[in-house]
């Protein structure tokens, strides 16, 4: 039994084609070495079905199978979907921690403590002013001093309250702009739905749409920073995306279900924004506590006076009610009495001040633990991402090595072709002339 004459040429050709495809794939990997979300690809090579030769040995009559070259089975992307799931869960936690830390840091900056301008200093200056008034109860300048210190204190409370309120409003606006029409959530969801459709078509045609899969995975990564996401891959290769604690899936096939209601339990940046401004959130607690300090201050000072010095129950509404001429250093006694001034000066270190110091301490610990969370979670995210990169990332050293291997393979296949060619030449040109 014989081997087809041109079989060797076919085998060499299949090698050339396979090596060229592998080279092209390597080239594509190198080109995308720094592309965000790109997974390295590899050309999967398979041997061609062998050529059966029924009786290669004349003596024994046994047959054999002759290898018939190579073929490219598919070009596949190297990716670990379990790492993707881990990455996205961690990314939601990081998104929440970042938002928490950034917002509380803004609040901390607004408090401006410890400094000579913060409420603590103004409060201290206010008590000192009353103490000075006790030394000269009939002195107009001392009375002016009390009112001026009171007004500065009140304006420090008003300003801080306004700043905290702005921070809260901005958090609400940020939530609205992310979830609103043509916000990030809707934008990502639309792109994912569109890719779902394209991927389904490509898979039906028997192709593996690597670049579209990469793009969809990248969008899911970005979406996971906004809220928790759960991905279910359907048999038709579309992804069903559950988003936060929304009732219906955000993306189902090519359908987008948005807008939907979310709660604090949504996780990610959106969950954190809802939590901060929600009734139990850190920002709300700060504002409530500040209001309590303002109200305590007003009550403790006013109870020593016939004419109310402060009015207002909250930090925003606190105001000074008296003019310098109305400031009382004494109650029932003559003009030179100072017992009221002494009582008020003795409020130093009292309930209002302690309340404020506790508030600052609480804020400090909140910011600190938010930043610690941020650092820890970010560290884990980096570790997971490194693992992911370890699987999917392009290593230039590796690609260079592959490049050399495939280049050599191509050269060798070409040499095989030459050998086959010269073999056939011998057969055709140099075999003896017959019939002349």
């Amino acid at each position: 039994m014989s081997i087809p004459t041109l079989q060797g040429l076919q085998t060499a050709l299949s090698g050339l084609i396979a090596e060229q495809t592998a080279l092209d794939t390597t080239g594509n990997n190198i080109a995308n070495a720094n592309t965000e979300g790109y997974s390295r690809e590899t050309a999967l090579l398979e041997p061609n079905p062998p050529l059966p030769i029924p009786s290669i040995s004349a003596q024994t009559g046994r047959g054999a199978q002759l290898g018939a070259g190579v073929t490219v089975a598919t070009i596949t992307r190297i990716r670990n979907i379990y790492l993707d799931a881990q990455y996205r869960a961690q990314n939601s936690a990081v998104g929440a921690a970042n938002t928490q830390a950034e917002t509380l840091q803004l609040a901390q900056t607004a408090f401006n403590e410890p400094s000579t301008e913060g409420i603590a200093s103004q409060l201290s200056a206010f008590w000192s002013a009353w103490s000075s008034l006790a030394d000269s109860p009939t002195n107009e300048a001392a009375k002016e001093g009390v009112v001026a210190a009171g007004e500065q204190l009140v304006s420090a409370f008003n300003q801080l309250s306004a700043q905290l309120s702005t921070i809260s409003t901005q958090a609400g606006e940020q939530y609205n702009s992310l979830t609103g029409p043509s916000g990030e959530v809707e934008d990502f969801a639309n792109q994912i739905a569109q890719l779902n459709g394209q991927i389904k078509l490509a898979e039906e045609a028997g192709q593996q749409p690597n670049s579209m899969l990469d793009r969809r995975d990248l969008l899911l990564d970005k979406l996971s920073a906004l809220a928790n996401v759960t991905i279910t891959e359907q048999p038709d290769h579309t992804d069903t995306v559950s988003f936060g604690d929304a009732a219906k899936p955000l993306v189902e096939g090519t359908t987008v279900n948005w807008p939907q209601a979310l709660t604090e339990a949504a996780g990610g940046q959106l969950g954190a924004l809802l939590n901060l401004t929600g009734p139990k959130g850190a920002l709300t607690a700060l504002r409530t506590n500040l209001d309590e300090v303002a109200s305590t201050l007003a009550t403790t000072v006013n109870q020593h006076l016939e004419k109310q010095f402060f009015s207002g129950e909250t930090a925003a509404t606190l105001t000074v009610m008296v003019e310098a001429s109305e400031v009382q250093a004494s109650g029932s006694k003559a003009v030179g009495g100072n017992e009221v001034a002494l009582e008020i000066a003795a409020l130093r270190g009292g309930e209002a001040e302690q309340g404020y110091a506790t508030l600052v301490e609480k804020l400090g610990s909140d910011v600190r633990s938010a930043k610690d969370d941020q650092t820890t979670l970010q560290g884990t995210l980096t570790a997971i991402n490194d693992q992911r990169q370890g699987v999917s990332g392009v290593s230039l050293d590796e690609e260079m090595t592959n490049l050399i291997a495939f280049q050599r393979g191509y050269q060798a296949s070409a040499r095989t072709l030459t050998a086959m060619d010269s073999m056939l030449e011998t057969l055709i040109e140099h075999t003896g002339v017959v019939g002349l």
Binding site: V335, A346, E398
Partner: protein, 304 residues
Amino acid sequence: MSERITPAMVTSATLNDLSSSLASLQRTTDELSSGRTILEPSDNPFGASRVIDLQSQLDGLSSYESNAQDGISWENAASSAMSNINEVTQRVRELVVQSANGTNNQSDLSTIATEVEQLTESVKQDANTQYAGQYVFSGTATTTAPYEQGAGDEYKGNAEAVARSVGPGASVTVSTNISTLLGNGEAAKDGKLLDTLRTIVAHLRGGTAEDREALGTTDLKALDGNLETLSQLQAVAGSANDQLKAALTRNEGLQTSITESLAGVEDTNVAATSIAYANEQAAYSAALRAGATIVQESLLNFLQ
């Protein structure tokens, strides 16, 4: 298969390390340049609330210090007025003793009476001593002079006390109720100094044997009684002054110790931080150098 390391991983790790190194260097620089370790409450939450507390205590102490200083000045004004009254009263006593020995004729006694009248005015003048615009002997009616110059001897002030707060819960009464010494004059017949002085003048001018008799007996006795009251008032004022000075000394000690506590919580330990700074700087340069070397290398450098 061993773990794959890609250049992207190396680059991002290098960048992370550099920025965290730079962040701690920046933090140390801030601590050194501001001189404080607590720049924000989150740096040390408990420390921040301690700083607020200690700073307020320190401000409070400086208030108490100026209260005590003010009290001392008040007491000084009152004491010097009372010393003057004492001198004047001693002078009157000498005159009374001199008048009572029987060697003076009526014209001499009238001259003495005129001098006693002048001395009485001078006592009232001393009683009207002011400190920082406040009458120190008027009780809390500090804008009213306690006595009018001239014939009327009625006390215009009140008996309420003026106090200075010199520490938490510690206050010192600085006012002296001068009416217990001077009284309301002859009309009141209260036997106080003004009444005594007016009676002496009446007896000097009276000219009868009873008048002369009275000068050496009841008047002298009343005057001695008044001097006794005066020295009691002076003693009380002196002890208030001592209390104020003691409060000042105590205050100084507290200020020193609270300032030390505050520095302990808040201030940068310059030596330790400078060493940390040097270490961090070295670490940062090393990270930069290593980063620059590793990131440049790849197989590409060696392929022909």
